[in-house]
Amino acid sequence: MKKILLLLLTVSLTFEGCFNYRDLDKALYVTSVIVDTSDENTVEVYAEAFRPFRSNASASGKGERIIFKGKGKTIFEAIRDMNLTSSYKLNYTQNKIIIYTKRAAEKGMDITINFFDRDQEFIFRNYIVVLLGDPKQLLNLDIKEEEYLGVFVYNLIDNLGASSRAVKLSMNDFIVKSYQKVDTVITAISVRSDVSDKKVEINGGAVISNYKLIDIMTKMEGEGYNFLIDNIKTGTLEVPNPDAPNNFSTLEILNSSTTTKLYKDGDKYILKKKIKVKTSIAGAQIGLSFDKKTIKKIEQTAEVNITKACNLVYNDYKKKNVDIFAIGLSYERLFNKSEPKNIISNTDLEMDVKVDIEGSSNIKNFK
């Protein structure tokens, strides 16, 4: 026992491990990091940080939002550059979001992404997004809902269940897919002017191929893409009202699952997507007669709409030869050999969509 105790004490006093003692209030906590690039080809980093301090006037603790900017040849140098202007060390363990400007993403994320992967303080459960706009405008926004931009955008993406059109990808998924050399779609955000003030909105997806932004996916394409990659939790489907053809009835998606099958058919590959969607009628313009025939018709129309949306996005990216549906990865897993070049251009999509409308009382929660 004494030997074990001695060993434990020796270990605890000599090896500090990955972590160091630092009091909670003796650091500045970064909530979002914006990566930009300059015309001189240097990396520019903006960080929004939270600083706890004790107000001498009211003799109580307070929190303060501080923006830092750093510049350097590499992202690490830029981050260290930011520390030159901060009294305490910038701590990234609470970072919620990594934002790449469109310019930085187009230039290539591979020169900076490695740092986020390697650094011990950056956690993988946060999100990565592309900003379509000016980073300074984003940082200067006065967001009413949340004091910190990082927390707000994180919650915004987390809340995506409300829309089937928005795309979301965590940092972890992005890193994994990048290493698998799979083209990915990450969330795109922009600043939009609303009735009274400016707000951050999710604006479709940014298509990343080989660490470079190559395209922007529209919100309309987002729904079809989400159905194809089985990323729909909830959302809405608008279909024409069978009782009033110029009006719509809305289906709320309760649950959706997509199963994927890839097989060879002659010289071609077939990507078969079987989509099952459980929905409930959320509302109908003018009114709706709830007979079996009408329900059946709505279901069929919804199925056609989903098929159309999926085909639209698939054919678009097939034409661009960008494999955002991970067909190559499915091929490698299935056939246990390297994917043929440009596999998406030689693959046809086959859809089997089934929409079920359930009683409206089945809605259980918001998400």
Binding site: L8, S12, E16, G17, D23, F50, A59, G61, K96
Partner: protein
Amino acid sequence: MNEEYIEFIKNTLKGNVDFKQRTIKCSRGIINLFFIDNLCDSKFISEYVIDGFLQNYYIESEINYIKEKVLIGNSIGDVKNKEDALLHILSGDVVIVFDFIQQIIFSEAKGYVRRGIGLPITETVIKGPREGFTEAFVDNISLIRRKIKNQNLKFESMSVGTETNTMVVLAYIQGNAPESLIDRIKSEIKNNNLNYILDINYLEEKLKSKNSYFDTIGYTEKPDIAAAKLLEGRVAIIVDGTPMVITAPYFFVENFQMPDDYYVNKYYANSTRIIRMFSFIISLLASGFYVAIETHHVSLIPTNFMFRLAISRAGVPIPIVVEVLLMSFFFVVLREAGIRLPQPIGQAMSIVGALVLGDAAVGAGLASQSTLVVVAISSICSFLTPKIYGGIAFWTAVIAIFSALIGLVGFYMGVFIFLAHLSSLNSCGYPYLFPILDKSHIDFKDVIIRRNLDEISNSIFHKEGKI
């Protein structure tokens, strides 16, 4: 020879204000009575000792005649030697020395002032017996005997302490208690080098594991609990002058058992017992976990909560671990002050102290609200298991220090060392951490939850464990 006795007693006890010698002249000669004034019942001595000699005009110079015809006290015996004579006098007996009979006898005449049987202050119950032990060991024996009318219930007395000659009584039920346990305890009591015993703890320290904050010997001031322990096959020790009775063996889980667990609704008793266990875990681990998370693993705290914690700690000049230890220290100080002061002042002092000190510390920026909350919860939880309060306070600090050194890894190390320490303890040869360790000799079923009384009201020792 008897002159020698008289001289010896008088010389040894001279100068004592309470030492009395009464000389009576009877038809046969002179009789000397020696006794301690306040230890004896003076009415008893007058009526049943002195009166016997004075009323009998004819007294034979034969000791048996005196024992049978003259003295009518209930307990009369022979004095073996001079030391024995002194011991009897100091124990409240009257020693009778004749100048016409060689033998020296004593008559029991104990009659000192005793405290009445009162409520057991440290073991209050909502439902169940309310009587508690007193300082008089004879009362304590009778309290137990009243509950167990069994011919196998034995009370073996021993005189311990070379200077105090304190009466120590070993109680057990023959057939239920293992012989090895009885022998072990007897030998521990006999082979001590104590000069005096003023409290049960003098013996407790001899019996329990050394170098630990945890008591591996149980104690109670309730006769019903002592009786229950005896019926389970354990051994009880009663010491004259102490309103507590110690029981052995004693297991760690018994710290979570309260007197009325067996007298109230089973489900209610079990739920409160589980609450006590949770409270123990919280009180032991909360501070260490708080230190580890706040200093090394900030990323594990949800962001908004982390902001609140950081704001509450902003401006505190001392490190979190020192803050936690300091606040814990103040809570211990307040608790001590509350106990030592007279009850009405003590209560007010504790409440005012906690409120004022806490608020002032936060206001002055010396402590954060979150630390105060954690330390307060930890301290309050420890009050649910008062018998291990000391152990909790010590190990909480140890775990907090380990957590400060290397975060959660240190926290787990602290917990491991704590468990290793507990498992190294034994209670009179039986594993203290039962039922986690060796169960071969023990059949103790009343561990986590209280089962039906008919299932647990048995001896806790296996047959083989009794040898």
